[in-house]
Each structure stands twice: as C-alpha cells, then as structure tokens.
C-alpha cells in the first residue's frame, strides 16, 4: 500500500517540479563552488613553496608532493603564535562559560509567563540592543571597572547578547508548562526547575547559543585591540591581523618573522589554522544546531 503511494507521488512530480529541483541543485552546487574554491585556494597557498609564489592561478593545482609545510612549521615554531592561540582559547572558554552562565538564567526568567513586569523587563533588555551605547562610554566603563588589560575585558562587556537571550527565551517557552507546574507542585524552586528540568531538555539550544557565542569570542578582534595592552595577552585575531598586514614588511627589512617561509603562505596558513578549532567543533554541534535555531525562532 505504502509502496503504491510512493510510486504515485513520484509519478505526480511534474516537469516543472523537476526543473525546479534541477535549479535548486544547480544553485547549491554553485554555492558549494563559491565556498570551496577560496577555501581550497587558501589551503593550497598555505602549502606553496617559495618557488611557486606568484605563479598563475595562485598554484591551486600544484601537486601535493610539491607542497611545503614550511609555513606551518614556522607558525608552530613561533612563540607568539602559540601564545596567541592559548589566549584565544582562554577567551573562548571564559567567554562561552560566562555568557551561558548569565544568558540561561536571564532567558529562563523572561520565559516565566507569570513574572511581574516581564514585558517591561524585556523592553529594558531590548533597548541597549537597538540603541548601542557606543565606544567611548563602554571604554570608560571598562576602565572604571578596572578591566583594562585583563582578559575578562574581552568577553565580559559582551557576555550577554540580547539576540541570543531572546532565542533562548523562546526555546524555554516552548517547553511544556505542565512539566514546570508539576515540579512547582512538588515544591521545587525556580532554580531547581531550571537546573533539573529545563536544562536537560535544552541541550540543543545551549549548544547552539554556545556556538554563537564561541564563534563571536574566537573572532573578536576589536575588544582585544582596545582593552588589552600587554603583548602577552594578545589573542589570535590580533596576531592574524598583524600577519595579514605584514604585506609590505619586506619593503623595509631583509628578514621575516617566520624564517624562510613565504609571507603569502604564512598568511594563508595562519588563516586556516585559526579556523581549525571552529571547523573541528562545528560537526559535533551541527546536530543540535538546526534543531536549536528552529525551535528557538519559531516561537515568538
């Protein structure tokens, strides 16, 4: 019976449907090429030996046995790069932990329908999202809090994102109220409800929002540039920017910070290496990602 239905469904697909499918597939292939070509170009450039720098098509089709790992060896042998990587991880871990620690309770509180003044509280949170206070007041605040030249300065001012809070709130609102009600009848406090009932049901949204925060903190250049003075605290985006800005470097000196490796390859290798943690983390989080975003966004 089921087989029959499937057959009739296939038979029912019209020529227009097929054309549409074809166009969709074509578009997806095009998008794949648009994304894959620069990525491949960056990877091959990072492995390109000095002799092939300046070659046609950026050496995209250079045979792998002609590749050189000089750029990666130079980067990994550079103390500054390793230090920056370590600092970025500190910011990533500290930032994601702090952000989730603050966002989850806030979103949960806002999701409680019976909360007095809930609407005004939401508006209060949305106002700074729409009307940003600007650079100087934030800088003054960070200075007054004594956070200048502290790693916390990179993630604390942006620890709670209104957008992420609202997505998470919507997700929490979607959890059946009966679960919370029954816990309340059993005498559970709101903290206990959050920790024991809501959080175990919210893995998807926590992973998703964690990823949002993580990507943001991993790539955050501006706050680090502004608030961190000590060279030993500089994270990867700062170093990456410095490497990418080093294009004209050889105009003035005979030496390179990365030995004999070509600067173009160094640039590409540093871009690729800085993306690796996100590339590695993404597949593990992806299964939660779609679910978390959709569930959080359809409720309003």
């Amino acid at each position: 019976m089921r087989k029959k239905k499937q057959v009739s469904a296939i038979a029912a697909s019209t020529k227009g449907d097929k054309v549409f499918d074809f166009l969709v597939n074509l578009f997806l292939v095009f998008m794949l090429v648009v994304i894959a070509v620069p990525m491949w170009s960056t990877i091959t450039l990072s492995f390109r030996p000095n002799a092939y720098i300046g070659s046609n098509l950026q050496g995209m089709f250079l045979a792998p046995w002609k590749w050189s790992t000089a750029a990666y060896r130079a980067l990994l042998g550079n103390d500054g790069f390793l230090m920056a990587f370590k600092n970025s991880f500190k910011i990533l871990i500290g930032g994601v932990a702090t952000s989730l620690f603050l966002t989850i309770p806030l979103a949960y509180v806002l999701s409680i329908q019976s909360l007095p003044g809930r609407r005004y509280l939401t508006i209060l949170i949305i106002i700074p999202y729409i009307f940003n206070v600007g650079l100087i007041p934030t800088y003054l605040l960070v200075t007054k809090l004594g956070l200048i030249d502290k790693i916390m300065a990179v993630f604390l001012p942006g620890a709670v994102s209104t957008y992420n809070t609202l997505i998470m709130r919507s997700f929490f609102e979607g959890i059946p109220n009966e679960l919370k009600e029954s816990a309340r009848i059993d005498g559970a406090s709101e903290i206990r409800i959050l920790v024991m009932i809501i959080l175990p049901l919210s893995k998807a949204i926590i992973m998703t929002i964690g990823l949002f925060y993580g990507v943001g903190f991993w790539n955050d250049f501006f706050r680090a540039m502004l608030y961190l003075n000590s060279n030993k605290l500089q994270p990867l985006p700062i170093l990456l920017r410095n490497i990418l800005m080093a294009s004209g470097m050889n105009e003035f000196v005979e030496i390179s910070a990365f030995g004999d490796a070509p600067i173009e390859a160094i640039k590409a290798a540093s871009v690729f290496m800085s993306a690796i943690p996100m590339i590695v983390a993404y597949p593990f989080i992806q299964k939660y990602f779609t679910k978390g975003t959709l569930l959080g966004s359809v409720k309003g």
Binding site: A74, Y139, N231, V253
Partner: protein, 525 residues
C-alpha cells in the same frame, strides 16, 4: 533531587572561583619600587607579526639599573586605523600612556583637548638624540600654535623607489634605454607586441602599475608618477613658489592624462593595472608580465623578494633608469616628502613630572649602548660585528637567536625608536648577497643609493596638507579614472568643463586651503 542540585551549585561556584583568576590575568603590577619611575610606552613594533620582547629581556633590567625606570611596553596595533581608535579611546578616558606613537592627524586632535604635553624643552636635554633624529623639518612636523607637541623621529627612507626596466628585454629587441617620454612609448609598444621574452606568446606588456594613491601622490598614484613627472604634473601638489596648488589644475596634468589614455588605448600597459593590489602587482613582475615599473628598492632587490624572479628568469635583469624627459624637458621619479614617526608625551605624564625621565630614556636609547641593544640585540648572542663594524647575523652561537632569526628578532621590536636611517642600519638591513639561481651579486642598498641619485621633486610637508572630504575625493579619483577608461571622453573641452565642476564641488576650496597651509608652514620651494 536536592542533593543533586546542591552538587551542581557547589561545582559551578568552585569552577567560577578557580577559573576567574585565570581570566582576570592582566598586566603586571604597575607599582614601582622606591624611587623608580614607571614609564608606560605604546610603541610601533618593528615587525608587528613577531612577538614582543620577552619579559626577561635584558633591556628592561639595564633601563631599570641605569635610569631607574620601570619600562612597560605595549605594541600598538598594526594598522594605522586601529592605532587611531585605540589612542582616541584611551584619550577619551584620560587614560593615555606616558609616551606613545601617534599619527600627526590624531595628535592634531589631542592637542586642543590638552591631552598631550609640549616637548620643546626636551630637545636640549637630549643632545645626542636631537643631533641624529630631529632637524628643523622634523620639529616643524608636530608643531601646533608655535609649540612642538611630538618628537618626530625619522620614518621610512625617502626616495627609495625608482623606474626599472627589463634590460634583457631591451637587449633581445635591440633597443636602447629610453630617455624621453616618446622613446619610452616606443619601448612599451615593443615590449607589448614584439615578444621580448621570446616565448612566442603575446603575454607581456610594456608598463606595470596599480593604483597606489596617497595624500601627496594623488590619482593615478605612486606607480605612474614618472609618467606624470615628464609633464611636470607629479604629485597631488605643486609646491613651487610660482605655481603652488593642486597639480590637476596644471596644463601638464591634462597632457599626462592624454599620454596615459594613449597607453591604455594602445594596450601597452598591463590591462589589470586598475584592479591589481600591491601583492598582485608584485607577483606580476615576478612572472614577467611587464618590463617597466616603478618599484621600491627592497621590494625589488631584497633577497626573499627577488628570489621568485631569479627562479623564473635566471637571465632576467632589471636596471634603474632615469625618469623620462617630457616635451618641455621635465622629468621626475615623483614627489618626495619627509616621513616621521611621532612620539608624544601625555599631559598626565607631564603633570606627574615624568618628562625629564622620558628624555633620559630617549637619550639613552640614542647612545651607543641603547642604539645597538634596541637595534640588534646583544652582541655575541643576537649579532656579531663584521670587519667594518656592521652588525651581522652570521657567527652567533644559535642562528635562531640572531636578530634575523625567529627567536632573536623579538628583541629588536623597539628598533624604530632608535633607527634614523644611518649608514650602520642600512648596511645591516640590506646586506649584499648572491642570488640562488643566477648567482648574481645583489644589494638592496646599492639599489637604494642609485635610486636616490635620480631626479625627484621635493614636496616636503605635502603629506600634511589638507585632504579633501570623502565625496570630493571620490569624485576626483573616479572622474579621472573614467577619463582613462573611456567613460568620459578625454578632450580639452570636456576636461575644462570637468575642472570647472571640480572647482565648484570643493576643488577650489581644497586648493586654496592647501596653498594657505604651504605658506603658513613655510613649505614652498
């Protein structure tokens, strides 16, 4: 249930207590020991992508022992825009460091706010440094209302570019070095159409360029200045007493535009010149795409930069030529100005009585001890002296720690505070070497010296003249491009009409402001 929750809460609290100190890790305690002055310095790193000097760098201890100064250093971001943001944000919070590198434009905004201190009294307190670093021009560079608010140290080397031509291509085609603008055109045509590299393909062009536009090298930018120089229209500004003003208003500018249009129409300039970025341009000459270009001495002749060209064309040879003469005998590689790195002292530091200590520090940096330590590191560890007394990387026990090695170069991050383009620096910076494939003897210093002998146009201070607003700048650059690409027809009538429109849109006001500034600052030649 309750037990589980309590466990959770305890765990989170412990985690927070353990982790927070890690993230509140910050700068070292700024409290100085008895009698020691803390000086906070924001410097422009010599190699921004290399790490900072290590915390146990011997220089910190020497400075503490000899000068009683606890030096805290911070490398400014690599791009000027980011530097400006960082400095201005700190200024807004009255949190400027004691001594900091700053662009003149930003300094001009800090002065009226009273955030920086005058430095006129410091020159006499730093006799050695003043003799090597600060002349009249440099003192004037950071002068506002008759007072000097910044120490303008020598920046990049001037007149360090030249017009280069492929000698091997000239020889292949039996052509002589061009000396006039028309001879140059003949050579460009031959390089484009007569297969100068003898590979049987039409894959070469006469001239290579890209749009590298600066405040004093307006459209079409630095790389085409030798062409505009032949018509007496080089640079954004004419800074002569008789013809002071924007070059675009000069007749020669129109003639240069006609010549450039001819280059484009006849296809003798690399057709990618308007889309090339600096790296593309440099990759292109290394691939042998064109045979004439204006290039910088080290970008051309430094070992790592020349290597790909040497590999691709072992028989290839570039030579530096005189800029071609135009119809009226005018010739110029382009305008040159003086480059400075400005260091300012915050008003806060001056109020705290740190000015004299800062002068002491800067003077020590200019002493032999400071100069060599900051410039090359420790003798025997980071460098050795050759027979001529020039610091060289050879002969150090561990090459990684030589001043050119990955671990050694971090100790020279402050070298821009002591370098003044003296002979020792230049010999050390540009050593003679033998190329890997063709076994040629090359020296970026010899190239520099030769480039500096060519005809340049003095335009000192032209980089400090008023700049147009963004709309006018866009109109100016876009319209000139359109004349060359054919979107606008280039003829005398259209040109005059465009000039009229440009004047009305603010070009005349820009011109007048520039001339007034030249007169006010005594910049006219």
């Amino acid at each position: 249930m309750r037990k589980q929750m309590s466990t959770w809460l305890v765990l989170v609290t412990i985690l927070a207590l353990v982790v927070m100190p890690l993230f509140s890790q910050g700068a070292a305690d700024k409290k100085a020991s008895e009698g020691t002055t803390v000086i906070e310095l924001w410097y422009g790193a010599a190699m921004t992508e290399a790490g900072p000097p290590p915390e146990d760098w011997v220089g910190f201890q020497i400075i503490k022992d000899k000068l009683n100064i606890d030096l805290k250093i911070t490398a400014l971001p690599s791009s000027e825009g980011d530097q400006d943001v960082k400095i201005q944000a700190a200024a807004a919070a009255n949190n400027l460091p004691d001594l900091f590198m700053v662009r003149r434009e930003v300094l001009a905004r800090l002065v009226p706010q009273g955030l920086v201190a005058p430095v006129d009294d410091l020159y006499a307190k730093m006799p050695v440094r003043t003799a090597n670093h600060y002349d009249e021009v440099s003192r004037r560079n950071a002068m506002f209302n008759g007072k000097s608010y910044g120490l303008s140290d020598p920046g990049a080397i001037i007149k360090n570019e030249g017009l280069l031509i492929r000698k091997d291509w000239l020889d292949n085609l039996g052509l002589a070095v061009p000396t006039t603008i028309e001879e140059l055109f003949t050579v460009m045509r031959a390089f484009t159409f007569n297969d100068p590299d003898r590979n049987g393909k039409h894959d070469t062009w006469g001239y290579g360029s890209f749009e590298e536009i600066g405040s004093y090298e307006g459209w079409p930018g630095r790389r085409l200045q030798p062409i505009f120089g032949a018509f007496g229209a080089e640079g954004t500004w004419d800074m002569t007493e008789a013809n002071a003003g924007l070059s675009v208003f000069k007749d020669g500018f129109y003639d240069a535009m006609v010549y450039l249009k001819r280059m484009v129409d006849e296809g003798v300039i690399d057709p990618n010149w308007m889309s090339y970025k600096k790296d593309d341009f440099r990759a292109a000459w290394k691939q042998g795409r064109f045979g004439i270009m204006r290039e910088q001495n080290a970008a051309y002749a430094a070992q790592s930069n020349y290597a790909p060209f040497d590999q691709n064309f072992p028989d290839g040879q570039w030579i530096i030529i005189d800029p071609p003469k135009g119809p009226k005998g005018h010739a110029s590689v382009g305008p040159y100005t003086a480059n400075f790195r400005v260091y300012a002292i915050s008003a806060k530091a001056a109020q705290a009585g740190k000015k004299d200590k800062i002068a002491e520090l800067l003077e020590w940096m200019a002493s032999d001890e400071g100069y060599y330590l900051l410039g090359w590191g420790v003798e025997g560890v980071n460098y050795t002296l050759d027979a001529n007394g020039i610091p060289v990387a050879a002969g150090v026990p561990d090459p990684d720690y030589s001043f050119t090695g990955p671990k050694g170069q971090v100790v020279t991050q402050l070298r821009n505070m002591v370098f003044y383009n003296g002979d020792v620096e230049l010999y050390a910076r540009y050593p003679t070497y033998t190329t890997a494939v063709s076994k040629k003897q090359m020296s970026a210093l010899d190239v520099l010296r030769e480039m500096q002998t060519k005809k340049w146009t003095p335009a000192v201070g032209s980089n400090t003249l008023p700049t147009p607003n963004a709309d006018l700048k866009r109109f100016y650059e876009q319209s000139l491009s359109e004349f060359i690409t054919g979107k606008r027809t280039l003829n005398r009538a259209n040109w005059n009409a465009w000039l009229e429109e440009f004047r009305k849109l603010g070009g005349q006001a820009w011109n007048d402001a520039g001339v007034a500034s030249m007169k006010e600052n005594n910049l006219l030649n």
